[in-house]
């Protein structure tokens, strides 16, 4: 892929445009190779899943995308440009938001404050204006607050707006975390096992939210998930990893019928 002519946000329905491309990514921790030479792309507007057994390197891949890890080899291309090595907070400012496998919320803060903090990259007013509610700062705060309320409505968590998130049950915490990531209006949303540890009903809710986010906000989503049923239902394309290498890539149907994938991951006999 060459340098893309346009740099503005891509329209939601433009499946051909590549938002992010990973080229020959290799990540090592000392002598352990977590990711070996993996390439794949994420197209604007799609839901892209990364699956694989435990220890396959899925979370490492997500951490490479959001800058927690820096690969020893390979290139990351984002919006048509090769990305220089960056700190995670700089990558957040580029429009990549994420959730974590073991929920990482601001436990002392309310749901509302957590999601407001997600708008950090969207706040511009200087602090001395914010502290005294000066005109421009207040207008900005009101606009941000309105957006956050929209997200709260969207995720159906109005009832817990003021509750400190440390007290919420697991499923709701996951939802708040999704809300915080959405608040940044990301160009790319990374979800690290959004349904881990949930019951069937909570999983259905979360699947619906992910699809709605993709629909309504036009957000490109890359997710890691263990539950095969869910992955196949909601994703447009799937990357399969095993022992740090890529063993499959394609639509859910293509992946499902790939014998290598079946051997390595599904563990189902050929028939």
């Amino acid at each position: 892929m060459s340098v893309a002519p346009q740099s503005g946000p891509a329209p939601a329905q433009a499946p051909a445009e590549v938002l992010m491309e990973m080229r020959d990514i290799t990540l090592r921790f000392g002598g352990v190779v977590a990711i070996r030479g993996i390439s794949f792309d994420i197209r604007a507007g799609e839901i892209r899943a990364i699956i694989g057994p435990n220890g396959a390197g899925k979370s490492s891949m997500l951490n490479v995308i959001n800058g927690f890890y820096h690969p020893q080899e390979g290139e990351v291309w984002f919006r048509g440009q090769r990305r220089k090595p960056m700190k995670p907070h700089q990558i957040a400012h580029q429009g990549i938001a994420r959730t974590f496998q073991n929920i990482a919320l601001f436990k002392g803060m309310s749901t509302l404050d957590n999601i407001m903090t997600g708008r950090f990259t969207r706040m511009r007013a200087p602090w001395w204006q914010q502290a005294v509610w000066a005109g421009p700062a207040e207008r900005e705060e009101v606009a941000n607050r309105a957006f956050v309320e929209h997200i709260i409505d969207f995720l159906e968590i109005q009832a817990i707006r003021k509750t400190p998130v440390g007290r919420l049950p697991y499923g709701l915490q996951k939802r708040v975390e999704l809300g915080r990531a959405l608040a940044a209006e990301p160009k790319l949303l990374l979800l690290d096992e959004p349904m881990a540890g949930m019951n069937v009903e909570e999983k259905e809710d979360m699947s619906r939210f992910i699809l709605d986010v993709n629909d309504e906000f036009g957000t490109t989503i890359a997710l890691i998930e263990h539950d095969m049923g869910v992955v196949m239902d909601i994703s447009d394309r799937v990357v399969v990893m095993d022992y740090g290498a890529k063993i499959g890539d394609g639509t859910p149907d293509e992946v499902r019928s790939n014998p290598q994938v079946i051997d390595a991951y599904l563990g189902v006999a050929h028939d």
Partner: protein, 333 residues
């Protein structure tokens, strides 16, 4: 009103104001502990250093004069000018911000992800380094700090309270140091400003976010390094305020760094993570030790102020380890 009641009232009032002075030091500890989980042993020395710097700038002292004289055989001491108080305070604040930046660039940056005990040890080293640096820069003699705040008793208050006592009673009015009153006013303003900052600004929200979860803070675009410089700068500012009030009260001397020790029991009472806790803890210790000295002290030979605060803190450690306002220790299983 009986003189005993009035005496008790006076003791309580003086205790409250002494408590405010403790709280000023405790505040600096809380700010840094909350945002980075570091117990900053150097907070007391920072207050001393800030006060030394303020006096030095105000009186136009040449920094490192002793060193310069020893090396070059010169006889420099003063620039021969004095700097207006407000400007000197701003310059001293600038020095504290510079210091905050240096601590992060030279020390903390290299200790990221180390155990808390290692960071704590680093701050002990920092404390001794700063004490030496303060000595080298500004000299070790006792200095008087005058920032133009009134001090001494209030005659007005003495006259008014004398009228409250019963006719013919042996009572000469209440003594309250005006400097303590000013310290209280300034502390209230400081806490109000800190609250507004942490509740309503994006940086304040980021501070609280970093305190809760580093990874999540990074993922929403918060730079830990910037936040830590800001936190240490604010702690430096609080140290400056504490240094000014303590320096004006006792003179700027190296024993000021020991006031930090009195902040420890304050923190144990109030909780290490709560700004209101630091204030209330300071007040309880201030009033507690004055009242105890006033009522029980004479029976056991006095000088109870030296240990009362620590015994109270010990009791709290046994029955309520998180302090009055500290975050409850909740474990979700």
């Amino acid at each position: 009103m009986s003189p005993t009641f009035l005496y008790t009232l006076e003791v309580i009032l003086n205790g409250l104001m002494a408590g405010v002075m403790y709280a000023l030091v405790a505040l600096g500890f809380v700010l840094i502990f909350k945002a980075s989980g570091i117990f900053n042993y150097a907070q007391g020395v920072m207050a001393l250093f800030a006060a030394l710097t303020l006096v030095g700038i105000q009186q136009g002292q040449v920094p490192f004069a002793h060193l310069i004289n020893a090396v070059f055989g010169t006889e420099v001491r003063d620039f021969g000018w004095t700097v207006p108080t407000l400007l000197a305070i701003l310059l001293a604040l600038g020095v504290m911000v510079l210091f905050a930046w240096a601590v992060n660039a030279l020390v903390l940056r290299h200790l990221v992800n180390q155990a808390p005990i290692i960071l704590f040890m680093a701050t002990i080293g920092l404390a001794y380094f700063m004490e030496g640096l303060g000595d080298l820069m500004w000299g070790s003699d006792l200095k008087t700090l005058d920032v133009g705040l009134p001090s001494g008793g209030s005659f007005w208050l003495e006259d008014v309270t004398r009228g409250w006592a019963a006719e013919g009673a042996d009572y000469y009015g209440m003594y309250i140091d005006l400097l303590d009153v000013w310290a209280t006013v300034i502390a209230v303003a400081l806490v109000a400003a800190l609250m507004l900052f942490s509740q309503y600004t994006r940086t304040g929200r980021a501070l609280r976010a970093v305190a809760d979860d580093h990874q999540a803070a990074l993922s929403v675009g918060i730079s830990l390094r910037v936040i830590w410089v800001i936190v240490w700068s604010i702690a430096g500012f609080v140290a400056l305020v504490a240094g000014i009030m303590w320096g004006a009260k006792l003179g700027v001397q190296f024993s000021l760094s020991l006031i930090a020790l009195k902040a420890l029991p304050v923190l144990m009472l109030g909780g290490f993570t709560s700004i209101p806790g630091a204030i209330v803890g300071g007040l309880i210790i201030g009033v507690g030790e004055k009242l105890f000295e006033f009522s029980v002290g004479p029976l056991i030979g006095g000088a109870t102020e030296n240990w009362f605060a620590y015994v109270l803190a010990l009791l709290f450690l046994v029955f309520r380890p998180q302090g009055l306002f500290g975050e409850r220790i909740i474990e979700r299983v």
